[in-house]
Symmetry: C2
Subunit: 248 residues, 2 copies
């Protein structure tokens, strides 16, 4: 079946199953080889890429819906997800379905709730469903052309992530359990898209009081073995819930 | 007419006019007499208070809908509004309409988009519509009991406002044009709900580089006349759009 036949076949079921006018789009970030990646997919017969997305069942909680959508795409459960913005512009998606009948589920006006998630790259097994022809990690600095307003949704997710660096910890699902300060700094630099001063980074990070310095250093290499750190789970979770003490 | 008759009469029109399943709730903050206020209203025959809210017309932009809803309530136009979160829990509002027929517009499941706004208290003229019996400013520290999940929406708006103090300027619509550093500090303290150190506040605020110190000081009073400041409009707007340079 081609895309039109597949969408038409799904439309009737969708009207019975989901809340109309509300969709979800998920921006799934992973960190790998010192680059920030995002999971994108490509529908059949399309040149442009899209975010993993879907709809909310009539009696489903929205967080559960986002988890279900991502789990179908990645095989991963219990992904840490957060809603960050609603995308509601008139015609943000409608015009894509110009050639379809007005009764098509997908052609109605959708208000899309954007979620973002941070995952351990190695835990994810991208899944291509029958509507798609590709599902891949893409470098956020080398994004392909995207459909509808999905590029804007992705950009807003990244802005949200950057802002959150000012009041929330990050790294728990992105770094290995033990890491060096330069590795943590690299993660911040990649999210922020700019270089940071090493001394300032160290002081600011230590002031957040979420790291435990390990007794062991990392072996191997010609230079002095670098110190290793772990996140202090309790302090990290408290900072995640309440924000950093260091902020206002 | 009582509330039930009024809602029933409006229901039919609402089905034709608005997008189903999507509502908006607005948390309108004002600053007055060194307290943070929020605009609440009370429906007829109810003991609890609610946020100003409404629905989105089928072809209306969501931001315009929020502006329209607040303008109807306050007589003020061009209010600075921002969406901050979606409230989507199953039965967050439905059970309030248990005694009504299932065809009632208001009884369907609603995903509510929360907006918050900061206004010049003196520009607002609270309006009581025919469904209501009160529309008043309430001190955020002395809130009355609220209906449905409106208290949670208000609390989340306040959390958002607090977080934004870490990366965005605030005060433009809340303070008079010229103000002293202690007055600005007071605004921060009221939003944060805690005392701040005077020296730290001064240094951090000056580092944000959004204030112009005025030549004139404030006259009157026995003590040394305090310095007056104005927001530098250009720098303030740049910081609003891009975040503070001082942050990560």
């Amino acid at each position: 079946m081609n895309l039109k036949e597949l969408l038409t076949a799904r439309s009737k079921e969708a009207w019975g199953l989901y809340l109309p006018h509300i969709s979800l789009d998920c921006v799934l970030f992973g960190f790998h080889d010192a680059t920030l990646k995002v999971l994108l997919l490509k529908l059949k017969e399309q040149d442009t890429w899209s975010l993993p997305g879907g709809y909310m069942e009539k009696e489903e909680e929205i967080h559960a819906a986002a988890g279900r959508i991502l789990s179908e795409r990645t095989g991963a459960n219990n992904i840490y997800l957060e809603q960050f913005r609603v995308f509601a512009e008139l015609n943000r998606s409608e015009s894509f379905f110009n050639d379809y009948p007005d009764t098509l589920w997908h052609k109605q006006r959708f208000i899309s709730v954007g979620f973002y998630a941070l995952v351990d790259y190695t835990n994810v097994e991208p899944v291509i469903d029958d509507l798609g022809e590709a599902c891949e990690w893409k470098d956020v600095n080398e994004l392909p052309e995207m459909m509808m307003d999905h590029r804007r949704i992705l950009d807003e997710a990244l802005i949200t992530l950057r802002r959150q660096l000012n009041y929330k910890p990050i790294g728990m699902n992105l770094l290995p359990e033990e890491f060096t300060m330069p590795e943590l700094q690299k993660l911040y630099e990649i999210i922020l898209g700019k270089k940071l001063n090493r001394g300032n980074f160290y002081r600011k990070m230590m002031a957040y009081d979420i790291l435990d310095k390990q007794e062991e250093t990392r072996r191997g290499g010609a230079h002095k073995a670098p110190n290793l750190y772990k996140f202090n789970l309790e302090k990290y979770m408290a900072a995640l819930a309440e924000g950093f003490k260091e902020s206002w």
